[in-house]
Amino acid sequence: MKIVLDRPRCEGHGLCEEAAPQLMHLDEHGELVLDREELADTDASTAQAAVRVCPVAALRIA
């Protein structure tokens, strides 16, 4: 299980970081960085919350 980012679609709204700060963050330029693409089972609900809140649907779980 991993998080996949559609980079061109991401506009840096940062709602995913608020939902899952341990999995992703915006860097100093406001670009999203995935800190852990490969997910443990214990990350599943947090990752789903991040995917859910992305306002432009730029994240998905594969």
Partner: protein
Amino acid sequence: MSTPPTSDVDLFADDVVVDPYPAYAALRELGPVVRLPANDLYALTRYEVVRGALADWESFSSTSIAFNPAANEALTGTSLASDPPEHTRLRAALTENLTPRALRGLKGRIEAKADALVAELVDQGSFEAVDALARAFPLEVVADLIGFTGHVRTNMLRWGQAAMQVIGPMNRRTAENFPVAGELYAWCAQVTADDLAPGSVGRGIFEAEARGAVPGGTAGHIIHQYLGAGLDTTVAAIGNVVALFAEHPEQLDLVRADPSLVPAAFNEVLRHWPPVNAWGRRTTRDVVVDGLVVPAGAQVALLLGAGNRDPRHYDDPDAFLVARNPVDHLAFGYGPHGCAGQGLARLEAHAVIDALARRVRRLVVGPEVRVPANITRSIERLPVLEVVPA
């Protein structure tokens, strides 16, 4: 698979646009999709199907976001009214200067402006909240952002209002507003970099066009969308903030006690009273929505305001409760066409809510006045009779 139920509700009747929630509740209970002969469209009513349609651009085309053909025709070639792959390129040009990362430099200025304005109004003790705050603040922010000066600045509010009205069906309001929306359209078709203040984002869009970073001829379109989509909606949202905090002082108290609730409070304002309640799409094929068939080529209305009150998704949906922090509300839409200006809207609204929560203990208001409008649901006048300062 079956045919959607039918209702005689008229989504754009005066009483429905002023208070759509009773009609929305009835439609939602009738079905996830309801055919409305009065408007010649299919309404999507429940949270999950509205969100699903917003994500599914292949089935629900944005070439008919407006509810009359002339407005859709006028919007052709904008990111708002196009589908991928063309949309992807237009959206990138539109958002280049509008994403949170592009706006970071403005945050401090916007917060300072909001705080100064709120401080002045609190000092005054009584004021008309729509003119003095809900209109004044976004007008100043957007005018400075785009670099509008002179007569354009004085026209911004009426142009912005008209641009939203004409998205409605071809009723009297739409007909009356087409000439005004046309003034905005004509101005945007001939505006040049020199008309906009040096150093502004608006000037930057023309500079981007000159160096080829934005496709030739689109700078005027982008300015048009900033003004057409970005002003009337934000005015509505900020008026709603004042009205809802006045009506629910215990909710204001929660934000005063815990300022980290400012974003949650804005999410709840947008869920409870979205500035835009209905937005159009057209089906590209026969689409099955929750077991009901919407035929190919049908006009669709996505009822954002009905989805936001769906008890299947939000507990006690008619209550205004900031602590629920409904981050997945539908007021900004969702997906590839999700509101391009939501970063700026958040900056503005968070600044206003934060200033109110720091400076105001209680707002005593008189009755709010509402005027029917096709697309933007906003308060026309809201007298604040007394401010109890913090």
